[in-house]
Symmetry: C2
Subunit: 204 residues, 2 copies
């Protein structure tokens, strides 16, 4: 008589993920406890275990939701030009850091060795999907004539992901969003076909 709303997740479950997410993205997966979440939500610890049997299951749900939301956001610019899509991709990292958070999967990448197999696989999958998405955008940009760069698609995708993840680390350390912003500008310039290229082309 009171079926779960289709596609719904349950209010409490969702709130738990919200609080846990913020904790992981600022302190790391191994540096918060069920007690922290319970206190924030004025719940008891066993209530948490009802929704997520163990911390590993909570962590897995966290990555899967992050992954889903991330690519859902990216899908809103599917029809745009490559340069717009790439700028939007970078803006997601900036938005996260502006909320005083780190990338969830970046944090988990640092703690990788301490994660359960399922969590490790989900984290890898997130970066796989990032690499694939970026490769698509880079290809699109070359076809549109706005992008130009050396090396393979996946290599360049990895450079972009690495720079953004590393830059977030540094930007938080110095509490300076500009460090990330500068990296973004640099990355965009690094793939943008410039007048320089045109000069080079005509010179050959």
């Amino acid at each position: 008589m009171k079926p779960r709303p289709a596609g719904g997740e349950g209010r409490t479950r969702s709130q738990i993920l919200d609080v846990a997410g913020r904790l992981v993205q600022s302190r790391g997966f191994n540096n918060f406890s069920y007690a922290d979440i319970a206190a924030t939500l004025s719940l008891s610890k066993p209530a948490l275990h009802y929704h997520f049997p163990g911390k590993a299951e909570l962590g897995l749900a966290l990555v899967q939701r992050y992954d889903q939301r991330f690519f859902e956001a990216l899908s809103t610019v599917d029809e745009k030009r490559a340069s717009v899509r790439l700028e939007f991709y970078a803006s997601l990292y900036i938005s996260v850091l502006r909320e005083q958070r780190m990338c969830l999967c970046g944090m988990l990448a640092a703690e990788f060795k301490t994660l359960t197999e399922p969590m490790q696989q989900s984290v890898v999958q997130f970066f796989d999907r990032n690499t694939e998405w970026l490769s698509g955008v880079l290809t699109q940009g070359m076809n549109e004539g706005t992008f130009s760069f050396d090396g393979s698609l996946s290599d360049r995708a990895h450079v972009i992901i690495s720079s953004l993840e590393g830059s977030m680390l540094l930007a938080r350390l110095y509490d300076d969003l500009d460090i990330l912003q500068t990296t973004v500008t640099h990355l965009l310039a690094g793939v943008t076909a410039s007048q320089l290229d045109e000069i080079t082309d005509s010179a050959m």
Copy 2:
């Protein structure tokens, strides 16, 4: 009658730092215990407390030693050309990852929010020194005519540090040293004065 050898640190103390260092660089500062170190060295936990009163002191010593060794290594190329010095800088990151380790301060940067004030300051100082050292090398390279790039010295230094740190994260995730190697190549190319620049110069 048995004074500490000048500049010496004590065998046991040094061994503790060795073991702790490897643990932090693979699992993170909050994901290992005194028990882990004690077991590895066949010592008791209180023996560890004799050398380092608390975990925070151990962590601080760890960062300071890492910092010292890092810049000691860099000093061996003080007299070289900028391109050699920058390649050597990058090779340090590669060496660390090849030993199945992450950058100590990169790991601590991820756990930054959970560290004591003194540890936080030491980590920041490490990256300060990196930024400064890189700025010096970049300046030298421009003076030598082998480097050329846009933006400020510190911005470029931050881009280099960020890329290397982020790239280590990704490379370990995929157990693929080439991911870091590719980033290094890309960074070096990004600051190297190319024939492209000469063409541009003559075109202006």
